[in-house]
Assembly symmetry: C2
Homo-oligomer: 295 residues x 2
Amino acid sequence: MSGVDRGAVQEAAVRIAPFVHRTPVLRSHSLDEWIGAEVFVKAEHLQRVGAFKYRGATNAVQSLRESEARRGVAAHSSGNHAAALALAAATRGVPAYVVMPANASAAKRAAVERYGGEVTTCDNTLDARRAALADVLGRTGAIEIHPFDDERVIAGAGTAALELTQEVADVDVFVTPIGGGGLCSGTCIAVAPARVIGGLPRDRVSTRADGLRTGVSGRTGAILREHGVDQIIVDEPEIVAAMRVVWERTKQLIEPSAAVAFAAARAAALHGELDGARVGVICSGGNVDLDALSW
Amino acid sequence: MSGVDRGAVQEAAVRIAPFVHRTPVLRSHSLDEWIGAEVFVKAEHLQRVGAFKYRGATNAVQSLRESEARRGVAAHSSGNHAAALALAAATRGVPAYVVMPANASAAKRAAVERYGGEVTTCDNTLDARRAALADVLGRTGAIEIHPFDDERVIAGAGTAALELTQEVADVDVFVTPIGGGGLCSGTCIAVAPARVIGGLPRDRVSTRADGLRTGVSGRTGAILREHGVDQIIVDEPEIVAAMRVVWERTKQLIEPSAAVAFAAARAAALHGELDGARVGVICSGGNVDLDALSW
């Protein structure tokens, strides 16, 4: 059994409310047509730092005792958790130390620094990242906030789905992407016993869904199994198609990792699994690498 | 004096209300910082067909007597007016005949056809477009609905700013892009005597703001002069910068023509013209040519 329950998600919602955006739920007739079901999009790409990650980071940072918080917080991350932790720490007025691989995008690094985070650069291997983080923790005494393998982070992530259930009645199925499994775990706990579908890219190592280039932990994997999450694997062309449709039809700039959830919802509908269902899609983020586009 | 007055805009608002989206007004702290003023974004990129053009087209089509409407409507357009007219006609159950140049984007043409419009292709010169339209009008007896040189279209365009004034009190300055001048004219009439700024691309022929590759008519030019519109010319790099900032900070996919208004607002603020002002930006559309991006 996980130590996170619905009460923890509800407590997290109260704790983070002063700091996070209550993001809107978006509807689009032509998106419904494309997916093949009635879809309610929880717009976490409009969350602060452009991703749901800010919920978990804020819940973790705001949960710390004052004596802990003063030491600062730390993590290794090449993506949204890095920026989320930096802003969550700045909001509490404590330091954030972020280890980022040298190949992280300049935009992601700039975001961390804009929020006042201290960046340590390392090689792009898991070993190098862990070693660099251990150095930082030893040097600063900061508290590590893991991007997903952390009960406070999972509870915070679950608040997005909790808000969706408060705003829209009778959502039958919830769909999230799965990378480390924090968002999907938190969603399961928030909406149980409702059905949850998790979308995964087929090739976890080289997928364009850069937020999902990781695997579940013992903790998140157990929560997903316990709640019977349906895992749907999507291919890169399906991710691109979903991203394009959302951009074109809703004018919302979502990132590839978020598109994985839309692609998974469409695949489920095509298999007849969503007939007549009201589907809540947790749109995880909108931090597209704009430098990679032609202007 | 123009024949369009505030009453005409208010009547248009009532006439089109059943058919158009009442688009939201968006706020973004970091967009405010970039522009240098408090900005309220009227999100017409979230309008049906992805552009404010649907307001004017709907007002014109819904204004027709039944005997006129039955003949259908027609226009030449390579852009948003084409799709807007097609959907407005389909909504009233009458035909739309659209003349499009052969070099119009496949996406724009597909949009017109998706809404049931009949497309006639011609060469990409103004003469060829006019000749092809004359042929269509002669063959079908359809009513021409000009994209901007039309009082019903101007009144419809003004409803976006009217809604903004209803939703947000005390907006001091309104900013729109200027192409044919329909949106800016309608805005002036809707918000008079409030100050209106119009943004124009420096090179009207080859600007990436493809919705603005035209000039004002006698009618719209007179309205702009009568209301003392400040015209601010922006360069292509300013348009790109504005578009990138809006995409990055608000996750809203706006098109280059809309970015011209944001660029003009920033330029005005840099010149000290918006100190302490509450600024309403009419974000005209979101129909980006996604085929031109790298996926």
